[in-house]
Amino acid sequence: MTTLTNILHAALTGSIGQHGEVAHAAAGAAPVQIAANGPWYAVLIPVFAIAAFLLCALCAAFKVKSKLPAWITVACLAASCGVSASVYAWVSSHGPAITYVFDWIHVVWGKDKGQSFVANFAFYLDTLTCLWMLFVTGLATLIALYASEYMSHDVGQGYNRFFAAFSLFVFSMACLVMADNFILLYLGWEGVGLCSYLLIGYFYKKPSAVAAAKKAFIVNRIGDLFLALGIMLCFVHFGTVEYKAVFAGVEEYIKHFEAGEFNKIPPVAQWIAYLLMGGAFGKSAQLPLYVWLPDAMEGPTPVSALIHAATMVTAGVFLIARTYPIFMISQYALHSVAWVGALTALLAATIGMAQFDIKRIMAYSTVSQLGYMFAGLGVMTSVGAAAHVFTHAFFKAMLFLSCGAVMHGFAGQLDLRKLSGVGSMPGWRIVGIAMLVGCLNLAGFPIITAGFWSKDAILGGAFANPHAQSIGWILLLTAGLTAYYTFRVYFRVFVGPQHFEPGDELHAHDDHGHDHAHAGHDHGHDGGHQSHSHDKAAASHDFHPHAPGWAINTVLAILAISAFVVILPLKLIPGELGWVGQMVEGSTARAVGHMEHAKFFGFDAHQAMMVVSSVVGLAGIAVAFVLHYAGRTSAATSRADALLPAFGPLANWAQHKWYVDEFYDFLIRKPLLVLAHLFHIIDQYLVDGLVDAAGYLPRAIGRLLRPSQSGELHGYALGMAGGVAALLLIVFLATTSW
């Protein structure tokens, strides 16, 4: 309770003054003062998480067959969340600080700057850290609670494993976010990748899950390589990987940046940002590395919600926000970020429009929204980006959890052509409401949704930036598309005539020793079977969707409420985007420099956008209403089907994700595989063949010489005489000077 009070206190009173000051100090180009002694209890955030991991691992070792690991996880993560809150309270009253834990990697070869490679387990605590940690731990706690029910069919099977990996994820995320140096960040970065791998591949018997997990890890590794190289370049240039010292080093270049004199900034320093960007693109599923995220939906839904929607995928955003000064001193880095973000947003939205799997639609919408965040960073509205991360975390988690509830209830059915009117089924009310709230947020329904405000900040920032007008238009277009496909899902699945077909996970669950508690089997599914006649019908006759239980409902309710509640800190506290704005402004992610504000057709861009984006969003919803709700009688078809021919092959292409996967497969994987086979052949026959040949050479010579040992006396005598003659001749010829 004390902590809660602290947060409120900090949020409503203390932080305002504090951060105002810090921000001013920073604006005066003085380095941010960072205390060396942060609160010790910051350590507890990862410690609780790792403790949960270890306990769950113990549970696995002792083959615990109850929900114990879930409760351990929930408790520990809640504790982490509490600690995060108190750390936030500390930071908001004391300013940024570093909490040192222990030495990690130390290579020292001199006393000067740059002559030691030092990466400690130490935490860099500022408001940006706190912002991320608060929603990461908070959401993780909630989703763990949700998962305790969602995963219940696996109790005694993979339940322990699931929660162990889940806790490990939170630990890694904590390291990533709280790191005081790039190397610890890298630890978290790859750690979350590992957990993502483990959790995507949770249903390890499904080849598609295994493949998706592998894909996620490998694609992320590509990004990680860039990140690693960026870190190295950073080390070479600044002589350190610790943020504090790096930012101190950047400080000098910031002046040049503010003066617009990029030619005074060494290209090496500018290149750091490009490399780091690669890492961010990988982790946050941006072009060209976004392909893993949609496949990652093979994992259990809570995982999709937490890792692949709310937290891990925002690590890229966090990285750029954390190292924002480095990006600012790079002449084209932010432009690149903006363009990549915008294009990703558009591309993912177009794919999302054409999908039928609702979880996949959500996945593409995540990619798309991440694109928004990158665009926001790129157009120098880091505040908007951070705010969008924050709001998106809540509503996207909620969307996923709702989808998960549907999936859970309908045996894995996710095809929007096979589900209809779920929201109106008994027991599914909360899910329906949560879904609606989420969709409204995602679509940017004006004024009342948090998503609207954060998205608006990015759009406004884009149009306000004189160099980013075209990005603004792309984002605006995407906003419309987003609203359309979001509500396409809602109108198809949650409202309209009731209809469902169960998915094929009945059997899969049986494999797991699944014991469905058919608590809700008497809930009506009367509208269920009239309109279809395939073979599945027989199976689904016995099928009763089971509505979510208390845990899922509670979590959804909390999230639905908080999706609205987050508007409060955004709008009630003064400043651009209020509390989040302050959090960002008080950290390294603060955008500096003076930029003339561009006008949007003569209006202030931000104010104009409030109107324009509202209109676009509402238009999208309206189109979705017309095409997918109005007059729809069956689940499988809608009015939109009639429009499809008008788009020609485009619709088909979009449905096939623009064939990007195939393209990559053809362009990269296949050639590599061919190369690998080629190398293997070369290795066997050429490299090893040469060795064998060298080994065979003595035998070959021996075979050649063997006839000389004919056993005949005369042959030997001739050999001796001839040999002597030849030898003498050789010797004479070699030594005589002709």
């Binding site: 021996g702 063997r706 006396l713 030997y716 001796m720 002597v724 030849a726 010797v731 070699a734």
Partner: protein, 550 residues
């Protein structure tokens, strides 16, 4: 002249023993006949001890043995010959007269001096050793020629009578005829050297070379002599007889052939090289035939000789190894390997003793050769001893049959552990596997070769060791790793258990000498010193000059 007798006591002892053996061996009493081997052993032992302890020491060398080009080598070489000779003697047990004695023991036949070979065999053996020892203290071409002939003539007979099989005869005749060809070659070479210098005394010849340089005639003589003598060491191109003779002879005689003539040959080559250059030639002397290679280590042979030895060394080891790789008969394999080992030792000859700056065991190629002779003798005897100690039960013709192929060795470590492990150890040592003796034998060849700037030759030596590893590995691990064919006729131990002793002693020597090799190396270092300061023949500017003054 009496002074020279100081050196000859070991030979004299051996000669007396030979005479005794020749008589005793014909005795009608079985026990006396049997004592021949013991008497021979006692004689060799006495000669060895004498050579090791009572050889003229360094002080008297200048006075009494001033004529010797390698003054300290005598004691070392004779001791070495004696030790290996004793080991070989252990092997020789039962080589001849086996059936004869069996029939006499069975009472089917009485002793017939005409049918017995025992006396001759041991006498020839001792004669050969005597000749070998005489090689070491040769200071005259005539002496050298006689010593060489005394060494080799008995061996021809020994090969022929060592087994009852036709192969032994064939081996004997091939060996004899080709040996005669080789002998004629070096004899002609000696004649030319004599013609060019007017003296048969090595010392005088050396002085002559020092004063007047080496005339083309002398050079032709030197080259022919080297080539002729290289028959004894089985160097290319005089190596052809080796596999056939080793294969045809009984294994114990093959062991003998691999050591005795080879040692004689190397001693002769060392003497000839000492005459031709080591003893006096300064580096950088001009003249096309007598150019001395101004190598960093200072090989001081005339370029022609160096080149010939170089080519011979390279060819010998390569040819020996590549042919050995193909063999399945252990004896033949060892024969080719013997060729290869001669090639290794020739590297030491090419390297030479080096200049005054190169004192020390590691720098002196001559020491390396002498040390390697010991190593090779010990480990080679071990391998042949294992073969000699095994046999097959008599076949249809009533003769016992030799074990010969690699397949025969399979599983020896389980059936005859002592022999099996001796084979493993000796083969690994021949391979040059550290820390066995063979490795420490090769190491000085490496160091001396590199000291002399013969890097390519050293690399060829290294690569050849690797080629050799292939077949030695088969030989080493056939007894240990493989299991005998179930269908194959079992191999049994020869009734002459003393041969097993020889094998075990060799194996023990291979291990122990490596560990306790330091003092041996010290001896070799001394033995490898070439006498400096050959005087000018005609009164010149300087009476004495230090050898190879840089």
């Amino acid at each position: 002249m009496i002074d020279r007798l100081q050196f000859l006591w070991p030979e004299i002892i051996l000669f007396i023993t030979t005479c005794v053996v020749m008589v005793i061996g014909l005795s009608k009493t079985y026990l006396r006949r049997k004592a021949t081997a013991l008497i021979a052993g006692a004689g060799i032992a006495l000669a060895t001890v004498w050579a090791a302890t009572r050889s003229p020491d360094a002080e008297s060398v200048t006075a009494a043995a001033g004529q010797l080009l390698l003054p300290h080598m005598v004691a070392y070489a004779k001791t070495l010959i004696g030790i290996v000779g004793l080991m070989l003697l252990l092997l020789m047990a039962g080589t001849v007269d086996r059936e004869e004695e069996a029939q006499i023991a069975a009472g089917r036949r009485s002793f017939d001096p005409l049918r017995s070979n025992r006396a001759e065999f041991y006498a020839f053996y001792l004669f050969s050793l005597t000749g070998l020892m005489l090689c070491a203290d040769a200071d005259d071409l005539i002496w050298l020629f006689l010593a060489l002939e005394l060494t080799s003539l008995p061996t021809y007979i020994m090969v022929a009578i060592s087994t009852a099989q036709t192969r032994g005869r064939e081996a004997g005749v091939k060996y004899f005829f080709l040996g005669a060809l080789g002998a004629a070659t070096f004899l002609y070479g000696f004649a030319l050297i004599y013609g060019a210098t007017g003296s048969t005394n090595l010392n005088t010849i050396a002085s002559h070379f020092r004063t007047d340089g080496i005339s083309p005639l002398a050079m032709a003589g030197l080259l022919l002599s080297l080539l002729g003598v290289s028959f004894k060491i089985a160097a290319v191109p005089m190596h052809f007889y080796t596999p056939d003779v080793y294969e045809g002879a009984a294994p114990q005689v093959s062991a003998f052939l691999a050591f005795v003539p080879k040692t004689a040959g190397f001693i002769s080559i060392l003497l000839l090289c000492a005459v031709a250059g080591w003893a006096y030639l300064p580096a950088g002397q001009a003249g096309s035939l007598t150019t001395v290679k101004a190598a960093p280590g200072g090989t001081q042979l005339p370029e022609l000789m160096r080149l010939m030895l170089w080519v011979m060394a390279a060819l010998t080891m390569t040819v020996g190894n590549v042919l050995a790789v193909l063999q399945t008969s252990v004896k033949r394999l060892l024969a080719y390997s013997s060729v290869a080992h001669s090639g290794y030792m020739l590297v030491g000859v090419v390297a030479g003793p080096g200049g005054p700056a190169d004192q020390g065991f590691t720098s002196n190629g001559v020491s390396a050769v002498l040390f390697y002779l010991l190593c090779y003798g010990v480990m080679n005897v071990g391998c042949f001893a294992v073969l000699a100690a095994l046999e097959r039960s008599p076949g249809r013709d009533g003769n016992f049959r030799e074990t010969e192929t690699l397949a025969d060795l399979r599983g020896l470590c389980t059936t005859h552990p002592a022999l099996g492990w001796s084979m493993v150890i000796c083969s690994l040592s021949l391979l040059g596997m550290p820390p066995l003796l063979g490795f420490f034998g090769k190491l000085p060849l490496f160091t001396a070769g590199i000291r002399a700037g013969e890097l390519p030759l050293v690399v060829i030596l290294g690569l050849n060791s690797a080629i050799a590893a292939y077949y030695y590995l088969r030989m080493a691990f056939a007894p240990f790793l493989e299991t005998p064919d179930a269908s194959a006729e079992p191999v049994i131990a020869s009734p002459f258990r003393v041969r097993q002793l020889a094998a075990v002693v060799s194996a023990g020597g291979v291990v122990l000498l490596a560990i306790l090799g330091n003092s041996l190396m010290e001896e070799c270092r001394k033995a490898g010193e070439v006498r400096a300061g050959i005087p000018f023949v005609t009164g010149g500017k300087a009476e004495h000059a230090s050898a190879a003054a840089d």
